[in-house]
């Protein structure tokens, strides 16, 4: 009788029912090659277990050891870790932490920016802080692929989990700020504003998306960012892209 290698593997892993097991064992008794194949599977499994076994005995790093402790320790470690985390690990954040950071930052910046007066690019509305003037225009019509003639430079455009289109941006307004804005029915609501690192006194916008913005993008994005084509289509449609096409 002929058995597939998958079948022999399942036998070696103890996954076959009684009947199949008996069949294989009967065949193995008369076919040494079959017995060797089963033995190979078992040996491989044992070799793997042995090779990865030592990891179980490695001492836990403090951050992980604290996780096994009480909640206070967990939170203390999270806060410390959030401060120290490398930029490459934007995703390694609790959404809750990001949200807190976002609201704190918005609070800080609104205080500064609203007092500048005169054609402010921000307006407080019942829905929250929305973009006006040059910033609103940049968000509405700007393209990441086109060199910015305005002070607004677009980074990534993507769909929020809640369906709204969103864009990260850098905006030169006195000092440079970076942020994330999402399109409501008519306005661009500012989800986050943060300090943009100045580069050669020039805006290289998307390239210098600050960590808090990158983190928020990672947290709220649905799927992949728009490519150039989807981006221009969204601009051309006046952002009337169906909230949930795939129902």
């Amino acid at each position: 009788m002929k058995f597939s290698d998958e079948m022999l593997m399942a036998y070696a892993d103890g996954e076959l029912d009684l009947v199949a097991r008996a069949e294989i064992e009967a065949a193995m008794a008369v076919d040494p090659a079959l017995a060797r194949a089963v033995e190979r599977h078992r040996a491989m499994a044992a070799k793997l277990r042995k090779a990865f076994e030592p990891i179980l005995d490695e001492p836990l790093p403090p951050a992980l050891a604290a996780l096994a402790g009480d909640e206070e320790a967990v939170q203390a470690v999270e806060l410390a870790a959030a401060r120290e985390r490398r930029i490459g690990f934007g995703r390694w954040q609790l959404p809750a932490w990001t949200a807190i950071a976002a609201s704190v930052l918005i609070g800080l910046f609104v205080g500064v920016l609203l007092t500048r007066g005169g054609g402010s690019p921000y307006e407080e509305t019942p829905e929250g802080l929305v973009a006006r003037g040059e910033l609103a225009d940049g968000l509405e019509y700007g393209l990441a692929s086109l060199p910015a003639r305005s002070n607004v430079k677009i980074g990534v455009t993507f769909r929020h989990r809640d369906g709204r289109p969103c864009r990260s941006f850098t905006f030169r307004h006195g000092t440079a700020v970076a942020g994330l804005a999402c399109r409501g029915r008519a306005d661009w609501k500012l989800e986050l504003l943060a300090d943009a690192p100045a580069e050669d006194g020039d805006l290289r916008a998307a390239a210098s998306m600050p960590a808090p913005v990158a983190r928020l993008v990672d947290t709220v994005i649905e799927g992949e960012p728009f490519d150039a084509q989807a981006e221009s289509a969204a601009v051309a449609s006046g952002w009337r892209i169906a909230p949930n096409v795939a129902e």
């Binding site: 499994a45 490695e58 996780l67 967990v74 995703r91 390239a207």
Partner: protein, 168 residues
């Protein structure tokens, strides 16, 4: 209130689970620093959505599933970042273990690291963590036939890399 919440139960189990989560993370990420970050994120997520865990069902496979998904998200986010971030930021490197240790364990680990991610994960769940095929397939949200074929292909490839002898 003296009844334990699901989050309490998860925390209680963590002492035993953490070493296994680390081992699984090591297979997925192939890297010590990433693995420990991944474990941390997995625990945070598990505690945050503890209410979704059905007490009585296997906590280990539930958390392995969370970990695998967290890694998929992370890889996606990294690809995106490579597109949007400046080179010095995108290049954040991760610690590479010194190549000094050259024992068998390492060569087996290295062989596993060369497998495609799907196969690595299937092998880790079944052969290292001892999940039954059915449980492993459910954890990954794939049909059992897909799981067994990933397992079989992964093993065949390991066999080819490590040689057919039973001992290395």
């Amino acid at each position: 209130m003296s009844a334990k919440t699901p989050a309490d139960e998860i925390r209680d189990a963590l002492g035993d689970l953490l070493p296994r989560l680390r081992r699984f993370a090591r297979v997925i990420t192939r890297n010590v620093a990433d693995a420990d970050d991944l474990v941390q994120v997995t625990v945070e997520k598990a505690l945050a959505r503890a209410a979704q865990w059905r007490p009585g069902s296997r906590l280990d496979s539930w958390m392995f599933g969370i970990m695998k998904n967290a890694w998929v998200d992370e890889v996606r986010a990294r690809r995106r970042r490579e597109r949007v971030l400046a080179p010095e930021e995108a290049g954040a490197t991760v610690g590479d273990r010194s190549a000094a240790a050259r024992d068998i364990a390492l060569s087996v680990q290295a062989a596993v690291a060369r497998l495609p991610e799907d196969q690595r994960i299937a092998i880790a769940l079944v052969l290292l963590e001892g999940l039954p095929y059915k449980e492993a397939a459910e954890t990954l949200g794939i049909p059992i036939g897909t799981l067994t074929s990933r397992l079989a292909r992964g093993r065949a490839m390991l066999q080819a890399i490590l040689g057919n002898g039973g001992s290395a």
